[in-house]
Symmetry: C2
DNA sequence: CCAGGTACGTAACAAACGTTTGGTAGGTAC
DNA sequence: GTACCTACCAAACGTTTGTTACGTACCTGG
């Protein structure tokens, strides 16, 4: 999608009707034919963002195969981190989207819903790990999932700003140490 | 500062020369007299943002008094979280700033430096806690500080998007559980 | 007193923006 | 055949943007 290409090159600041139209070799009239307003295009851009996130390669999860429990949770979290260029680009766009999303209540609600779903998925993985005895069962799975998502989200932000201080190896170590703390706690 | 008021009302998207000029009852000519370009104003806005963050009230830290170690670390982290309206507003602006910062290498570097300093402070607190035996000493203080900052940063983002799912009480609980895990690990 | 710099305001600039208008081409229904 | 709808383009609209040019107070040092 042209919207995605524009986002990758210019970010949300550069997501203008003209830029998208030019990227797909069309006119701005075409865009307004499909999107009644700029907000509609922004909304669509966030959908595209989510779709791209869903379809992106997940090397760690693939390597984990059909593993269950803690190993799968680790793989999912690892695949979120900006360990390579593509994931760093995707995460940069994602972080940028927080600005436009927070400025518009409806877009914020949609974003909140996306994160809620992500937490839900993660909660399932945590519950699996608890059932396998890999994680303590004395804390609600939802809390552990929310905590894990927070940790990874924050690590993404820090790694984006200071990639030399948070090279892939250190990101992995920090995540593993976090998970080890969860398992021990 | 007028810049701060504009940021609070319209965010970074609405930070225009005219908006700032109107907010301080002056003309755009005045602004260009002090800021050679919009980028300079943006740079200044990020400075103001940092200054506001430095000068904002820190109820938890004050309540903690001259406590040391883990208690002080907890207070500092608590004061970051969006537990009330003012801190939520400040955090919203802060998160929004990531968009403009990530789009400009120089601004990104300045932001990275800010977070590095914050981690440095937190590293000192962690080291204190380790010396007091409140946190295990088998992990580098820098790693623990980076991990704690990641956790809090991510929790801020999630709480901003889903305030009803992350009310102050739950934010506090999640943070305490995280710190307990650190201490036990 | 007066030269010169600092501190502003006024006004305009070109560019870019989102949006609107008017029109063309092609397909479909009757 | 003709009425109508969808898909699209070209062009312009009015507004807002960052920036610049120019004028005028005010102050200060000599």
């Amino acid at each position: 999608m042209a919207v995605w290409r524009v986002l990758a090159e210019r970010g949300f600041q550069g997501l203008t009707l003209r830029a998208v139209a030019a990227e797909m070799g069309a006119s701005t009239g075409l865009l307004t034919h499909y999107f009644p307003s700029k907000r509609a295009l922004l909304k669509h851009a966030l959908d595209v963002l989510e779709q791209q996130a869903a379809e992106r390669p997940r090397p760690a999860a693939e390597r984990a195969g059909d593993a269950k429990g803690l190993a799968m949770l680790r793989a999912v979290l690892l695949d979120i981190l900006p360990l390579d260029r593509e994931n760093a680009d995707g995460n940069r766009i994602w972080v940028s989207s927080w600005d436009v999303a927070l400025a518009d209540p409806e877009l914020a609600a949609e974003h909140a819903e996306r994160y809620r779903r992500a937490r839900e998925n993660m909660t399932r993985l945590v519950a699996d790990a608890q059932r396998l005895g890999e994680l303590p069962a004395d804390r609600p799975a939802g809390d552990l999932a929310a905590a894990a998502q927070s940790f990874v989200l924050g690590l993404v932000v820090q790694a984006l700003f200071a990639p030399q201080e948070f090279p892939p190896a250190r990101q992995t170590e920090l995540l593993d140490a976090y998970l080890a703390g969860l398992a021990a706690g």
